[in-house]
Symmetry: C2
Subunit: 517 residues, 2 copies
């Protein structure tokens, strides 16, 4: 019947060596063609998984995330045996790595074999997540997508890109910019994160305000299920209402339902004009009024509205020697516009700034139109995370709230903690109602942590917020899911997991709370 085909992934594999400079690591050396009607459509339908048997010799206690509070008990997955190794050695002659020195990041398998052997698997992209979602907890096999880094197709009329999951976000951006397009998402980790990981974690980032979430821009996915079957939902169409939209299940499921191997995504045109403004406000209320004003006056060219507080600025000054580009203020805003006409964009921006200044919403500001100055202003927002790492041990929270309330949580946390915290800072995506709240301590401090949690989660729940706006739950936050989701919804998630991955081999100990196991 038309449109029906099945592909299983077994006995065919490619090994990723951990070092990119290794003499025997190359995407080209081991490749196989997936058979199916799409092969005529996608010029390169090859798969290059890289898999690392991370802890064959390491036992179960090596993981830095394993604090007593966070780590669940190891589930009764099989231990890797000599027979398993022989199997892998047979299909991957000379490419099975068991040397502990080399095992810090790679080894190989296919999911069908792992499923039949009940071996647990940890899918991994660029490993840039912040909640322990992409690293093994015990002895799970790491399945890396790093060798699956081919761009498959790009349609310059529709702007639809298809590519393998291991493509690095920044590489895709460079590729598209030459074709007068951009990726619909951008984030600090772009230099190492993989598009497959971005989709698996439903990454948000700096352009969400303008181009929306990946649930809207991802048009298709190829996913390998726990039993090795390939689920082909790799459509390259803007509209397709034939049955349930299965790909949506995998967007944001953190590799617990399937391994994303290819992505099709709708890309916007590259703007002909980009401007960045850095402004200072006296109060958060004025910062919100400025947001309202700029939504009205900048309209369709507004592409980012980000903020940081004066504590962030102090850390940028102190640790990174980044000088404040304007005079000192309690709050700072980064506004980006991108549009198709530099003259029109400039006029809109000028009118907005004039209004913001005369109405005293804004106390100081500076504008950048050339690339280097744009980058410098953006770094005031993008490098806050880096500055924090120099300040001490950081407790990180990624909270979604109604936009009017996002800074109140920082104020309340500061008051609640008093001098127990070295600093409490707030920054994030105002336009999306997304606060990054960070509490710094000179060192790891269980007493401080006990003062922060569950205070922060309870505060968020009272405002009907989300305890993870864009970072996901991973290992670290899985048990806090009930603060943002009712038990019925969590139970249904458990049913979906059981349906798609009955043995639970895919990224165990992640996303879903322990009480569902």
């Amino acid at each position: 019947m038309a449109g029906i085909y099945q592909r299983t992934l077994n006995l065919r594999a490619a090994l990723r060596h951990l070092s990119p400079h290794s003499t025997f690591s190359s995407a080209a050396t081991v490749r196989h063609s997936l058979v199916g009607p799409r092969s005529s459509f996608l010029p390169i339908t090859t798969s290059q998984f890289g898999v690392c048997c991370r802890k064959l010799h390491a036992g179960a206690d090596g993981h830095k995330l394993r604090s007593p509070a966070a780590a669940p008990d190891r589930l009764p997955f099989s231990r890797i045996t000599q027979e398993d190794l022989d199997f892998f050695r047979k299909i991957l002659a000379g490419r099975v790595i068991t040397d502990p020195d080399l095992l810090e990041s790679s080894n190989v398998d296919w999911l069908k074999y792992c499923n039949s052997r009940n071996l647990a698997v940890n899918p991994q992209g660029g490993n840039t997540g912040l909640v322990g979602g992409s690293v093994p907890v015990y002895d799970e096999i790491i399945l890396s997508t790093a060798l699956m880094n081919n761009i498959l197709t790009f349609d310059s009329i529709s702007g639809i890109l298809t590519c393998q999951a291991g493509c690095v976000l920044e590489n895709l951006s460079h590729y598209l910019e030459e074709k007068d397009y951009i990726m619909p998402l951008d984030l600090g980790a772009k230099g190492s994160c993989h598009i497959g990981g971005n989709v698996a974690t439903n990454a948000g980032g700096l352009r969400l305000l303008r181009y929306g979430s990946l649930h809207g821009t991802v048009l298709g996915l190829e996913v390998v299920l726990g039993d090795g079957q390939v689920l082909d939902c790799l459509a390259t169409l803007r509209k397709d209402n034939t049955g349930y939209d299965l790909k949506q299940l995998f967007i944001g499921s953190e590799g617990t339902l399937g391994v994303i191997t290819a992505v099709s995504i709708l890309c916007p045109r590259k703007p002909k004009s980009v401007n960045v403004v850095f402004l200072g406000c006296e109060t958060f209320e004025q910062l919100l009024k400025t947001f309202q004003l700029c939504r009205g006056m900048l309209g369709e060219i507004l592409s980012a509205y980000e903020f940081l507080d004066s504590e962030c600025m102090r850390l940028l000054n102190t640790h990174l020697k980044l000088p404040n580009p304007i005079s000192d203020c309690p709050f700072y805003v980064v506004i980006e516009t991108s549009g198709s006409d530099p003259k029109h964009d400039g006029e809109k921006l000028h009118n907005f700034l004039e209004e913001a200044m005369t109405s005293s919403l804004v106390t100081d500001g500076t504008v950048a139109t050339e690339d280097s100055k744009i980058k410098a202003l953006w770094s005031m927002r993008e490098r806050v995370t880096e500055a924090l790492t120099h300040d001490g041990f950081t407790y990180k929270y990624d909270i979604s709230l109604p936009v009017e309330q996002i800074y109140q949580l920082v104020t309340d946390m500061r008051e609640h903690l008093g001098d127990r915290a070295k600093s409490v800072v707030g920054y994030g995506h105002v336009g999306d109602g997304n606060l990054h709240l960070n509490v710094v301590s000179p060192a790891k401090d269980p007493a401080l942590l006990a003062a922060i949690e569950p205070f922060v989660y309870e505060w968020t729940t009272r405002c009907h917020g989300s305890i993870s706006a864009e970072h996901g739950l991973g290992l670290k936050k899985r048990n806090y899911i009930y603060y943002s989701k009712p038990s019925q919804a969590v139970a249904l998630m458990g049913n979906i997991k059981a349906m798609l991955d009955p043995k639970g081999i895919l990224n165990p100990y992640k996303t879903l709370p322990d009480n569902l196991k």
Copy 2:
């Protein structure tokens, strides 16, 4: 635990009388409060289901959609008994309708009772669908959302609206326009379609090019599952990565997985300037080049790029007496811009038109900036469907294709059918790669149908298109799903259906193919 609560819908109900002018039909008369933490957040968390036991006396053969080719056998659902009627009469004193004259559209139940009795249920919004998705096939109980028509909240900073499922799209638009916002979707049926139905069918429409699909703009849903449990995913946040995004499952599932009872949706700002252009092109290739040019030159203000062919124009002239606003051409384009600055938008449009004219991509055109002329130009595109109904019996197809190929299908179909068809016309959403292909015959013609199908589906599959871009599958197209989805994906859809609605009482005979039953 925080965030956990459960609500069941039983023993409380509201009856919708079928006539909107009926003296005993009122949203206010029967109301109940849903208990839960959200009640403090949503000022009006009430539910007003209306349900009609459509065919209590009518037997199983009354439905106009039941052609031998399309209709599956009735499944062994319970027949409604006197005891069932007594149950409904007890909880809905004086409001149970069994009079066949009144039964053309309403009656009442809650899903928990229906599930326990194995009674089939047909959720229904405005009943404006085109694939038989919202009407019963046999004696299913119609569950109407028409009385659930309250707007719940609107946040004028974030632009997030929450409302009950039965709100009519146009009413929501009027409400928002007063607050300087618009709905992110617009379609011809706006005067009667319900937002719940829009979401259940993942409606596309005229603004998708600009604001994207409902998978991106819908932020939350409240859904009643087949067993009467209320699944609360009614978040009002732009970002929420706590577990699987369950609401996505229900978007586009045509009421087969649950009944959507409330929606939260992100609304764009109302544009300050709208322009519409009507252009003529000599070839479809020129029409596509014009699309490319306008994407580049109109950029962020482009909000629609629609087309119709000369056959459509002939039908508009003949049957609706709508005169061609420009000179005769093989192809016509409707372009809409919407932006925040009338002067800038006018300049962009002027530059684009000058370029399109001087490069001979366009042979004639007219521009409208005032409301009445904008409406007149839009009606050339929106009233094609109406013109077709006057021309004869119409076989309708809603096809997604790579944009370069959308008109080739019309040409090939014309050639393939020769003089067997009265007319073969093409129009639709070029910007989305969505063709509405219509074949007209003087009367219903099985031989003609046999010439169209499976030709049209096979053609679409060869181009990796979708056989239903925005209309869904409903009853009419359920068995053609394999032309656009591999069998593994369809099997997985069946598993999801079995998980969420084990008795299969929700909208049976729809969306999924018969071989899964």
